[in-house]
Amino acid sequence: MTARELVFATLRRSLGVSGSEAPRRAAVAARLAGHPAGVVPARGQRPPLERLDLFARMVDASAGTAERVATAADIPAALAAFLRGLNLPLRVRHGDDPRLVAVPWDAEPALEIRRGASDGHDLAAVSHAFAAVAETGTLVLTSGPDNPTTLNFLPDVHVVVVDAADVASDFETALAGLRQRYGVGTMPRTVNMITGPSRSADIEQTLLLGAHGPRKLHVIVVGNP
């Protein structure tokens, strides 16, 4: 008997089932296909502009910062101002996301843009979020050449751009978006849900920012919901 067979046999003996009972199979198939939502907090359920306000407040509460800009053309100035405010060099890295590639970076001549995954030597990175969740101020990022996962963790400063229309009320909406984009039962290699900058409270439960990931997290919300 293989280990797999042994685990299944013991499980089924304990549960008193054979595994082929039709009602059980139907219950499981129905839940997987129907993915019922459960309890969704009312907190995020509000009109689009108020939802953006809530999102910004929750990012703030998680020790991140957020700002709104009218169009993608405003991103370079916002990014440069943010980096200057931290006394950081105006050098950032981003992936192949077409929305980031299309940003008119030249509008800030001092900005130096690098492309691709990080090897750990970058101070700042820019990613484009797949979506965001107003309920908790959470960003949802997906892996791939567009937004390499290393950019989310290795640099000291992480700036995340998100379209206002992609700021969802709740997790269920953002997850439904993933299902639609990647197909039922299929996921990208990594989905990072990020709520604030890295932290640790392992030393006498004192909260300290910048444990292993970025010390600063800044969100730029683009456009109107």
Partner: protein, 486 residues
Amino acid sequence: MTLASHIATSSRFKDNARAALADADLQDALSFVEVNFIARRREVADRLPEFEALRDSARDIKDHTLAHLDLYLEAYEERLIAQGGHLHYAVTAQDAREIILDICRGAGATTVTKGKSMVAEEIGLNDFLEGNGITPVETDLGEYIIQLRHELPSHIIAPAVHLTKAQIEDEFRRAHTHLPAARNLDEPTSLLAEARGVLREKFLAADVGITGANFLVAETGTSVIVTNEGNGDLTQTLPRVHIVLASLEKLVPTLEDLAQLLRVLARSATGQEMSVYTTLSTGPRRPDDPDGPGEYHVVLLDNGRSSMIGGAFRDMLRCIRCGACMNHCPVYHAVGGHAYGWVYPGPMGAVLTPSLIGIDKAGHLPNASTFCGRCEEVCPVRIPLPRLMRSWREREFERHLSPATVRGGLALWAFFATRPRLYGLATAMAARLLGWAGRARGRFSWLPLASGWTRCRDFPAPHGETFQSRWKRREKAPLPRPGHAP
């Protein structure tokens, strides 16, 4: 180097607890637990009106999954393999250790980084890898600290909660000899910065990264880790091979079910709305991915759980390892996690440890409870921890594992308790006698047969009357009129 850290000392709980109570550093460190965790959880739970309903939902999801675990496991396996992952079944802890060693050897690994994993502690993975020439590096700050000290975690989400800042500074000075001896480590931030610097090099050099999993999602074949530091993500993103070590009961059906559980996990654990990093991983690096591991393995540990699911302790398999039960436990506050003698401390450990290592070895743990019920009150998946501890006590008694003094005492008590008249007579006499003997001081500093109590505190002298006789007297007396102050 061989460590003995995973050998259980649960059978010596009483000695462990006595030592813990006398440990001044430990008592200092523990004073933070009661204050911080409880207040933070209360605050964040109060902010979410749906929190109690979410706890019901979380409990129901776990119950439903456990009742259909074989089928969700099939679905999970199918999605995982379809997306390029490898699934390994481990019946025992030894099986899991060997599977992981084989994968590491196959990757030609000399160092592995590790994200925090209680299941890795359960199977004693670090000692085993080290014994086989592979260096494991813990990367969670708390886990890193206790690895330097060759200790077990004393808390399931805050492994170094038993240490003071000064002790951590001493440890860093001892371990990081390549850094200037005169450096200033007074502030917690400088300790954190030093660990970050040391571990960053380890992340970049590691061949294999091992993480645990908070959840496995059947719908998508996904493993999920929930962290605050980002160490788990560096652990699983940078090396060539990512190994996920998870136990069977981590499965949930769908992404929506995951969202329900995430809403109660961080709030119950650290009092955050969400932990900083919730990471969903599915399979290895895709053909056009610029980063991520080339291989993705999930080692699924049974270690008795598939049997447990059919027994009296099935509810325990709902546990999502938030630590709220120990954060709210007066016994944990007093003695800390190490006294419990194995990997899982506090009320959840008092129920789970006997299931995993045997009630004969862990019999003290379910007895180390006042049954105050706070653990059940805060458990996000509503595990009836006091009832389960009581079940263990009953089993221990049935199997004649309790000490002779306990059995003798209970037999004596049962003799009187089943004879009400005799009981009334005996207690009335005892109350009168003790009331008379203690009439001068109102308390006893020593009593025959009660040294277990009087060794640590005085025993209050009764007033000479039992509760029952006083009750009878009041029943006969006229009721006080409402509005009359007594």
